[in-house]
C-alpha cells in the first residue's frame, strides 16, 4: 500500500489536486449529512405555487412542483456519488481481474479476452447501455449500478494487462517463479500491489465519467427514475420550464460540473504522481 499512500500524498501537494480533493470531500460530506438538515423535497410539493426563483427561503429556487432545488441537488449528490462509487468499484475489480489473468497467463486466454475487449470497445458505452436499459419500464437502481459497472472495465483491463506484461519480466517475479511460487501467489502478492497505482488513477478518473454517464442516462429517462432526485433527471425535468424557470436546470448541472471537475483534477494530480512523465 506504500506506493498508493505516496501517490495520494503527492497528489495532495499538487495545487490542483488539493483543490479537487478538498471540493470532493465537501461534496461527499454534504451528500451524507445534507439530506437530514434540509427540508425533504418529497414532502411538500405544491403545484399551485409552481416554481419560484432563487431567494431567501430557497437559495436555488424551487421547481415546477415547488420542491426546494437545493434539497434535491443535495439528495441527488447522494444518488449520483453512490451509483458512481459502486459502479466504479465493480469496473475496477473486473478490469483488474481480467487484466491480471490475461497478462500473466498469456496465450489463448489472453488472445480471446483481448479480442472480446477490442470488440466491446468498438461500441461506445452509452450505446451498450441504451440497448440493455431500454427494456425496462422503470430501471431498478441496482440494475443501473451493475450494468454501468459491468460496461466500464474494458479499457481498465488493457491498462492492467500492459502493466502486467512489463512486470512479468521483472527479476523479482522471475525469482518468485523460480522459487516455485504458485500462480495465485504471484498474481496477488507480486503483481496486484504493483498495478494498484495505475488502477487508482483510472478509478478516480472513472468516477467523473460515470457521474456524467449516469446523468446522461437519467436525462434520456433510462437512469434514476423520479421521484428519486438525480442530477440528470432534474435537468430532464427542467427542460419543460427552460424559459420560465431556468434555475431548475442550471443548479443540478453546476453540481455535476463541480463534482466531475474536482474528481478529474484530483485524478490528474494522481496521474502525475504515479507517472511523472505526464506532468
Amino acid at each position: 500500500m506504500r506506493p498508493v499512500l505516496d501517490a495520494l500524498a503527492a497528489a495532495w501537494h499538487h495545487p490542483q489536486g488539493r483543490i479537487g480533493a478538498f471540493i470532493l470531500l465537501i461534496v461527499a460530506v454534504t451528500a451524507i449529512v445534507g439530506p437530514w438538515l434540509l427540508p425533504d423535497p418529497l414532502s411538500q410539493p405544491d403545484i399551485l405555487i409552481g416554481s419560484t426563483p432563487p431567494g431567501l427561503g430557497h437559495p436555488f429556487g424551487t421547481d415546477q412542483l415547488n420542491r426546494d432545488i437545493l434539497s434535491r441537488v443535495v439528495t441527488g449528490a447522494r444518488v449520483s456519488l453512490g451509483v458512481a462509487l459502486l459502479a466504479v468499484a465493480l469496473s475496477m475489480t473486473l478490469g483488474a481481474a481480467v487484466g491480471l489473468v490475461s497478462g500473466y497467463l498469456g496465450g489463448v486466454v489472453d488472445a480471446v479476452l483481448m479480442r472480446l475487449v477490442d470488440g466491446a470497445l468498438a461500441i461506445p458505452r452509452l450505446f451498450i447501455l441504451l440497448l440493455v436499459l431500454a427494456v425496462w419500464e422503470r430501471v431498478p437502481v441496482l440494475a443501473l449500478i451493475l450494468l454501468i459497472g459491468a460496461t466500464g472495465w474494458f479499457a481498465t483491463s488493457r491498462i492492467v494487462r500492459a502493466e502486467v506484461l512489463r512486470l512479468r519480466e521483472e527479476a523479482y517475479v522471475r525469482a518468485a517463479e523460480a522459487l516455485g511460487a504458485r500462480r495465485r501467489r504471484i498474481i496477488f502478492r507480486h503483481l496486484l500491489p504493483n498495478v494498484v497505482g495505475p488502477l487508482l488513477v483510472t478509478a478516480t478518473l472513472a468516477v467523473g465519467d460515470v457521474i456524467l454517464l449516469e446523468a446522461g442516462l437519467s436525462f434520456l429517462g433510462l437512469g434514476i427514475q423520479p421521484p428519486m432526485p438525480s442530477w440528470g433527471g432534474m435537468i430532464l425535468e427542467s427542460k419543460e420550464v427552460l424559459v420560465s424557470a431556468p434555475w431548475a436546470g442550471i443548479f443540478p448541472g453546476l453540481a455535476i460540473v463541480i463534482t466531475v471537475l474536482s474528481a478529474n483534477l484530483f485524478g490528474d494530480a494522481l496521474r502525475d504522481a504515479v507517472d511523472p512523465r505526464s506532468a
Binding site: Q16, D118, G119, I123, L130, G232, V257, N264
Partner: protein
C-alpha cells in the same frame, strides 16, 4: 508495409465481428421482452405477441435468428423501424450527412484551436497559463453536453435571440432563397451544437498535444536548435511541432466514440436531424431495430476510423510498422 496493412485489416474485421456478436447477444439476452413495450400503455394480448414474434422472427431458434440477422446485414437490411415503419438502413443513410457535418465541424475546431492551445501549454509547461488552460479544458470536459446545450439554447437562442437554437434549417425560409442564404442559414444553426460539442471534447485534444509536444521538447535536437540561437517560435513550430503532430493522429480513433456519444445528447437538445437524435428518439420509443442499426453503424465507424488512423500513422512514421 502491405503485409502490415493486411494484418491490421484482418484485426479490424475480427474486432467488428466480435462487436457484432456482442450486440446480438445484448439484444437477445436483455432481461424482459422488448415486445411487451410496443403497446405503450395498452397491454398486449398473448395473441398479438405471437404474431409480432413471428413477424420479427423471434419464434425461431437463436442460431437461425443469428443467421437471418447476418444475412440481412450482408444485404444491407437492418430490419424495419418500429416507429417510422421504414427500413432502418434508409433512415440511417438519410441522417448520416447531418451528423457528418456536425462532427466534421467539431473536428475542425478541435484540431485547430485544440492543437494550438496544447502546443502553447507545452511551451509554458508548469506556469500559470498552462495550469489554467488545463483546468478550463477539464471544466469543459466535466460539463454534461446536454446541460451545456440547454444553457446555450436558453441564453443565446431564447434570451438574447442571437442564434437559432433548434433544427438545421429555418422552416420559414423561402424555397426560392439562393444557396448563399441557405448556407448562412445552416451555418447559423450549426454554431451552437458545434460549440457545445467542442467545449466538452477539446480537453482530450489539448492533453494529447501537450504531452506529445513535451516528449519532443525534451529531445537533444531541440537543445541543438536552441544552442544555434534560433528564435523560440521557429523551434516550437518548425522543429518541435512537426514531430509532435504524429502522435495526435492516433487521437482521432480514440476520439470518435466521445464525439458520437456527445452527439446523441447534443442533437437531441438542438433537434439536429442526425444519427444522434435518431438514436435518442429510438430510446424514447423503444424502437429496437433502429437502436440496433444505429449501434451497428457506430461500431463500424469506430472500427474503421481506428484502422484508418493506424494506417495513416504507419505511413507517416515507419517506426510503427517495425514495432
Amino acid at each position: 508495409m502491405s503485409g502490415w496493412v493486411l494484418r491490421r485489416a484482418l484485426q479490424a474485421a475480427v474486432t467488428f465481428l466480435v462487436a457484432l456478436a456482442i450486440l446480438f447477444v445484448l439484444m437477445r439476452a436483455a432481461p424482459g421482452d422488448p415486445l411487451l413495450r410496443l403497446g405503450g400503455d395498452r397491454p398486449i394480448s398473448p395473441k398479438e405477441i405471437a404474431v409480432l414474434r413471428a413477424r420479427y422472427g423471434l419464434d425461431q431458434p437463436v442460431g437461425r435468428q443469428l443467421t437471418a440477422f447476418l444475412q440481412g446485414l450482408v444485404h444491407g437490411d437492418l430490419g424495419v423501424s418500429i416507429e417510422y415503419g421504414r427500413p432502418v438502413t434508409a433512415l440511417l443513410a438519410e441522417r448520416l450527412p447531418a451528423t457528418l457535418l456536425l462532427g466534421g465541424s467539431v473536428l475542425l475546431l478541435n484540431f485547430t484551436v485544440g492543437l494550438w492551445l496544447g502546443v502553447r501549454q507545452a511551451v509554458r509547461r508548469g506556469r500559470r497559463e498552462d495550469r489554467w488552460l488545463t483546468t478550463l479544458s477539464l471544466a469543459g470536459y466535466a460539463m454534461p453536453s446536454f446541460w451545456l446545450g440547454l444553457v446555450l439554447a436558453w441564453l443565446v437562442g431564447i434570451h438574447w435571440r442571437l442564434l437559432p437554437a433548434a433544427g438545421m434549417q429555418d422552416p420559414l425560409l423561402s424555397s426560392h432563397a439562393g444557396w448563399g442564404t441557405r448556407a448562412v442559414d445552416v451555418l447559423s444553426h450549426l454554431v451552437l451544437p458545434v460549440l457545445t460539442l467542442s467545449v466538452v471534447s477539446i480537453a482530450a485534444t489539448m492533453r494529447h498535444q501537450r504531452s506529445a509536444m513535451l516528449e519532443v521538447l525534451r529531445l537533444p535536437y531541440i537543445l541543438t536548435a536552441r544552442a544555434k540561437g534560433l528564435p523560440e517560435r521557429d523551434i516550437t513550430w518548425r522543429h518541435a511541432w512537426r514531430n509532435a503532430l504524429f502522435p495526435v493522429i492516433t487521437l482521432f480513433g480514440l476520439w470518435l466514440p466521445i464525439l458520437v456519444t456527445g452527439s446523441v445528447f447534443v442533437e437531441a437538445v438542438f433537434a439536429w436531424p442526425g444519427l444522434g437524435s435518431l438514436a435518442a428518439g429510438a430510446v424514447g420509443n423503444r424502437d429496437y431495430p433502429l437502436l440496433m442499426g444505429t449501434s451497428l453503424l457506430v461500431a463500424a465507424l469506430v472500427v474503421a476510423s481506428g484502422f484508418a488512423t493506424d494506417v495513416a500513422y504507419a505511413l507517416l512514421d515507419p517506426r510503427v510498422r517495425l514495432a
